[in-house]
Symmetry: C2
Subunit: 315 residues, 2 copies
């Protein structure tokens, strides 16, 4: 199986859930045992942190690999550690693919012409991870520079069985500043981006009907999510904002088709650092943080199954 | 001197030119001697390419450091080589700062909340390059996610004497697809972004009057450049599109104030690979590529001085 959405959907069906685990390591929040171990293996602060990030994410991957179809490492937290962090990001993505997970690199890249092509070549590996240095199945992409700047990403994605998720509606409080600008035809900027994405999704549809071009649509704007699902019927959605950012399962329900496909829902902090917050903080000691990761992942899976069409995956 | 624009302007005055040299290494175009040397020092293809990129950019820096105030490495070409490329990017930025150049990392980052802050912490070093792992003076930033997502970049930039350049009007043919969306008030998306940037520039103004928040405005749209210069009087501009992309010195003239400050003009391919194109291809042998870099840089400096207010810097 080559096509990105076909592979993603197969993974969602196999795991019976559209839950996506974000990998967002933060140095100040790391479990004590991870930090202690990293300090025995490295000395300078950036290398200690990079070693700890790799260890932390690798152990999260071991916990969630049997439970969910995909993970989404956030490039920013790794880049924050300089080249050592980039090495850790690479190792984490390799580990996730070794464990059979679909890997969506959340790097929000975007540039023009041959520069965009360089980003696509860098990250998009698709079905065969050796096709690119970073080996991701998919990459998040920023559309501000224009629809011609999406073309190189789409081309490489199609060639390699990879995918891209274009930012359409983000989950932050100020998302509307520019995304809500309304044109003379009454359509907002994010709706115009959605229209471009819809076209690209149709042009790249796999056997599942979904395209290789997806959209990021935040869970924090549920009405818009419902409208966008209708406007982009063949577009795989990546929905951030569940959990720590305030979105609940009911808010993401409109993202799915009747089979429970068409969307994946991300939680990062709420799973990575479950041991630091209730109810898991009471249930698990800090050195039981992996059990907290598992419990939080299972709770998210159950929550989404009970309140959205994705429940159909478990029947 | 701490403030980004104050430091940049001092460098522009010292070098008597606003010419900015982009560092855009492409493997297929490298001079033969650089490639041969890299092959003696590394074996796997990505390490060979990363070694060659570092060597190539380092030697360009040695040529241009006495001539121009700043360089702009393009992150995409380095990331294309995986972690080894990131290591090379880091080395190139360090080399440029060692040679006293202002370093603008062209990575077009953008994300929400603490993720945006992670990117800011990663790249922005400002006056003291040890303040961040990558050690850049400034970073290019994508505004699509909303004005609240610029805030973390602005905060870190101000603390560290660093700068950001927000994408306002890019230089690609399809730039208008989304950037030209016109609202009910008759203002286009890029003009709204410009308004937000103008406010941030005023709030972060240094003693030169220019802010720590700049704007990327392509040379390929000269009328808009003129309008944007008026709309953002305290905003330092980064003008791509000169040279290989088709913009000439006359097209960038409107970007400057009467002293020749307020804008820097980038050329990448036209300088990096001058030895591959006329008139330099005839004048210099492939192993004289550094002389071609110098000749192309001097020609660009003279062209801008003769056709724009930046000529005032040489008097």
């Amino acid at each position: 199986m080559h096509h990105f959405s076909d592979r993603l959907n197969a993974a969602v069906v196999a795991k019976q859930t559209p839950a996506l685990v974000g990998l967002d390591p933060r140095f100040d929040w790391l479990p004590p045992d991870v930090l202690t171990a990293a300090r025995t293996r490295a000395s300078d602060p950036l290398s200690v942190a990079a070693t700890a990030f790799e260890e932390f994410c690798s152990r999260i991957i071991d916990v969630v690999a049997p439970l969910v179809p995909a993970v989404k490492p956030q490039a920013a937290f790794f880049e924050q550690l300089g080249p050592a962090g980039c090495q850790a990001l690479h190792a984490v993505m390799k580990k996730a693919r070794d464990r059979g997970l679909v890997v969506i690199c959340d790097a929000k890249r975007g540039d023009i012409g041959t520069t965009a092509e360089a980003y696509a070549q860098a990250y998009l590996a698709g079905a065969d991870r050796d096709q690119s240095p970073w080996g991701a199945d998919a990459l998040t992409v920023n559309p501000y520079l224009g629809d011609d700047t999406l073309t190189p990403f789409v081309k490489v994605a199609q060639e390699r069985g990879a995918g891209i998720y274009v930012l359409v509606r983000t989950s932050n409080p100020g998302a509307g500043t520019f995304q809500d600008l309304t044109g003379a035809d009454g359509r907002k900027l994010f709706e115009r981006v959605a229209q471009a994405v819809d076209r690209l999704s149709r042009e790249t549809a796999g056997t599942s009907g979904y395209g290789a071009v997806g959209a990021v649509v935040g869970a924090t704007y549920p009405n818009e999510l419902a409208d966008l699902r209708i406007a982009m019927p063949q577009t795989p959605l990546l929905i951030p904002g569940y959990g720590a950012q305030g979105g609940g399962a009911a808010e993401v329900a409109a993202g799915f088709d009747a089979k429970g496909l068409g969307a994946i829902v991300n939680s990062s902090r709420g799973i990575n650092f479950a041991f630091r917050s209730e109810p898991y903080k009471t249930q698990f000691a800090p050195d039981e943080w992996e059990q907290a990761v598992e419990a939080a992942t299972r709770a998210m899976i159950a929550d989404i199954a009970s309140k959205t069409p994705a429940g159909a995956l478990q029947r």
